[in-house]
């Protein structure tokens, strides 16, 4: 299902103040129907507060939240046609899996037979049928996570909000559940908004993501766009691994450590400091050549690839360079020549 451009949820200048602290500082975002949207940022960036405002647990200090064009800000949580999957899962401990799933439908006043039918269907979809009569404390972390998801999805929300849904799971299970979540999202055809601090998770799952810092959106776009063309230094640093080379623009050319590096300098102020950012996989490394000379000071083997740490005259910290694991040509102490493709060099002046 390709996301349609129609916005289902619009956040319009949302502000949330707690006393003197501003948790959400004027955020505007359009979330499109059926898309998987991620709110990504470090802890304290306001992403959870924003999610809780959408769910109705926090009242915006200013701004509006529109669902299908209607302002839902004045509605209490139980009146909003969207559901939240809690970070702690918040399963009712005194109810079985089946009762947990049925709770939300009971609140809609549906007939018993209808509830039973929909619960059974949801149990099957989420592969929980065998656990239907268990209590939450008889479930593993991954099973609880699925119950929490099923309990929210069964309400057929227009938007499903997920607060760090995979945060409590171990790495293997996380990766499995990332794909599982995407599959479910396609299957039920609902808009998902996920809050996470894990940039890898956001890149893998989201159709689009917004990077938040200090209550503001720094960049919003698709994973590739954000990875390839980060809007500023913070985003560049937060997403993936990035090398930063401090220098300055002189005569329309970026210079660092007395050497010029070819990059697009259009729109940058000349005679002022600038930072060049380049990803480890975009640095070419040769044993000899006319690139930037460096010395391998450390090598980290990651299985799939090797991370070389190369000291150069360009900056104080060694540059990280990624080469395929099969490439065992370089040893610690070897002198190498590095090449930066100009298209992959990004300059920031902030």
């Amino acid at each position: 299902m390709t996301p349609s451009p129609r916005p289902i949820l619009s956040i319009d200048g949302a502000v949330k103040r707690f006393g003197k602290t501003v948790a959400v500082d004027g955020i505007s975002l359009d979330i499109r129907e059926n898309e998987f949207f991620a709110l990504l940022g470090p802890s304290g960036c306001g992403k959870t507060t924003l999610l809780r405002m959408i769910a109705g647990f926090e009242t915006p200090s200013a701004g509006r939240i529109l669902l299908d064009g209607a302002d839902i800000s004045p509605l209490p949580p139980e009146k909003r046609p969207l559901n939240l999957m809690f970070q702690s899962y918040a399963l009712f401990p005194h109810m079985s899996v089946r009762q947990n799933l049925g709770y939300g439908l009971e609140m809609e006043g549906l007939p018993k037979a209808e509830i039973a039918r929909r619960v059974d269907a949801m149990l099957a979809t989420t592969d929980l049928s065998a656990l239907a009569d268990r209590k939450p404390d008889q479930l593993s972390g991954g099973q609880k996570q699925r119950v929490a998801l099923a309990r929210a999805l069964i309400k057929r929300p227009k938007v499903l909000l997920l607060d760090e849904p995979l945060g409590a799971l171990d790495k293997k299970l996380r990766e499995k559940m990332q794909l599982e979540l995407k599959r479910l999202q396609h299957e039920v055809g609902t808009t998902f908004i996920i809050v996470t601090h894990d940039q890898e998770e956001a890149l893998v799952m989201a159709d689009r993501l917004a990077i938040l810092k200090d209550g503001k959106v720094l960049q919003c776009g698709g994973p590739e766009e954000i990875y390839e063309r980060p809007a500023n230094r913070f985003v560049a640093n937060f997403i993936g691994v990035m090398n930063f080379i401090e220098g300055s623009i002189e005569g329309g050319v970026f210079r660092a450590g007395g050497q010029a590096i070819e990059a697009d300098t259009s729109g940058l102020a000349t005679g002022r400091p600038a930072t060049l950012a380049i990803r480890p996989e975009n640095i070419a490394v040769h044993s000899a050549g006319n690139g930037f000379a460096g010395e391998v000071v450390d090598i980290a083997y990651h299985g799939l690839d090797r991370q070389l740490y190369v000291r150069t005259g360009l900056c104080d910290t060694p540059l990280q360079v990624r080469v395929p694991a099969s490439n065992g040509a370089f040893a610690v102490g070897a002198t190498v020549s590095l090449g930066f493709a100009p298209a992959h060099c990004r300059l920031f002046q902030d």
């Binding site: 139980e78 559901n83 918040a90 009712f92 401990p93 609140m107 209590k135």
Partner: protein, 289 residues
């Protein structure tokens, strides 16, 4: 610390010794006395009999047991109805104020039980504060007979044991994961339904702990009925008291006492079962709290 592994066993010794000497042995003595014959001038004659236990089930005493249970039951109900909102309000207060509020809730407890009970005489007698207040407000011409009634006894019991009930319910409420209440709202339940289906249900162990506490202490109480009941009607505690100190029938007093102990043990076992039943849920409720 491994070489000290045996110490914990030694550390409980004083407490165990205390319990054996001052709790277990006296209880066994009471049990033993219940099967003996009364001495003519008090004390016991060592002649084995079931007669005392049979008398416990005499309609006369059965009725007093029922009266005691009713009074204790009403006191329990009233205490829970007062304590729950109080504990809830304390839980809703800012974290730093909660210990202060709890301190005030428990404050009356630091004064003497008897003095606190006598204070109610000052409040409830015909010339007391309550009657004067009602008169000055014009609600009543004649002073009401508030004192020396079942109502006065229940009031005294509730007043004296309320702090414990508040503490028990507070501890249960404060351990509730607030996200459970939000989840309930999120799934479409309003505040009232959420309270009924989630909050109340998950704080049952606290209600049970506080409830059993006040019930057990009330049903066997003899000070409050003596002071505020004015001897007009008897609770089982008063009968036990009379058997030992007035009627000089120690074996029968012991038999009645045994009956009270059995009631207490049954209730405590029920409460333990209930708490165990909820234990897993409480653990779950704590996750991520």
């Amino acid at each position: 610390m491994t070489h000290r592994a045996s110490h914990p066993n030694l550390l409980v010794l004083p407490a165990v010794a205390w319990l054996v000497v001052f709790m277990l042995i006296p209880c066994l003595m009471v049990l033993f006395y219940a099967f003996l014959t009364r001495g003519i001038y008090g004390g016991v004659d060592y002649i084995f009999t079931f007669e005392n236990l049979a008398r416990v089930f005499d309609p006369l005493y059965a009725k007093i047991f029922l009266t005691s249970a009713r009074i204790a039951g009403l006191a329990t109900l009233l205490a829970i109805l007062i304590a729950y909102p109080a504990a809830y309000a304390i839980c809703l207060a800012p974290k730093k104020w909660q210990p202060v509020l709890l301190f005030f809730a428990v404050l009356p407890f630091w004064s003497n039980y008897l003095i606190r009970t006598y204070a109610w005489i000052v409040l409830l007698n015909r010339e007391g504060l309550v009657n004067n207040l009602l008169k000055s407000l014009g609600y009543t011409g004649e002073p009401l007979s508030l004192l020396y009634s079942e109502g006065a006894v229940i009031t005294g019991l509730v007043y004296n044991y309320l702090p414990f009930v508040i503490l028990a319910i507070y501890s249960s409420l404060s351990r509730l994961n607030p996200e459970l209440l939000e989840a309930s709202r999120d799934l479409g339940a309003n505040a009232l339904t959420t309270f009924w289906r989630v909050t109340l249900r998950l704080t049952m162990p606290g209600i049970a702990a506080g409830g059993v506490f006040i019930f057990v202490l009330s049903i066997g109480n003899f000070v409050t009925p003596a002071v505020l009941g004015g001897g007009r009607f008897q609770m089982i505690g008063n009968v036990v008291y009379d058997q030992f100190l007035t009627a000089n029938d120690w074996p029968f007093g012991a038999a009645l006492g045994m009956a009270l102990i059995v009631i207490m043990i049954v209730l405590l076992l029920l409460q333990a079962r209930l708490t165990a039943h909820f234990a897993g849920e409480r653990r779950e409720a704590n996750d991520g709290a």
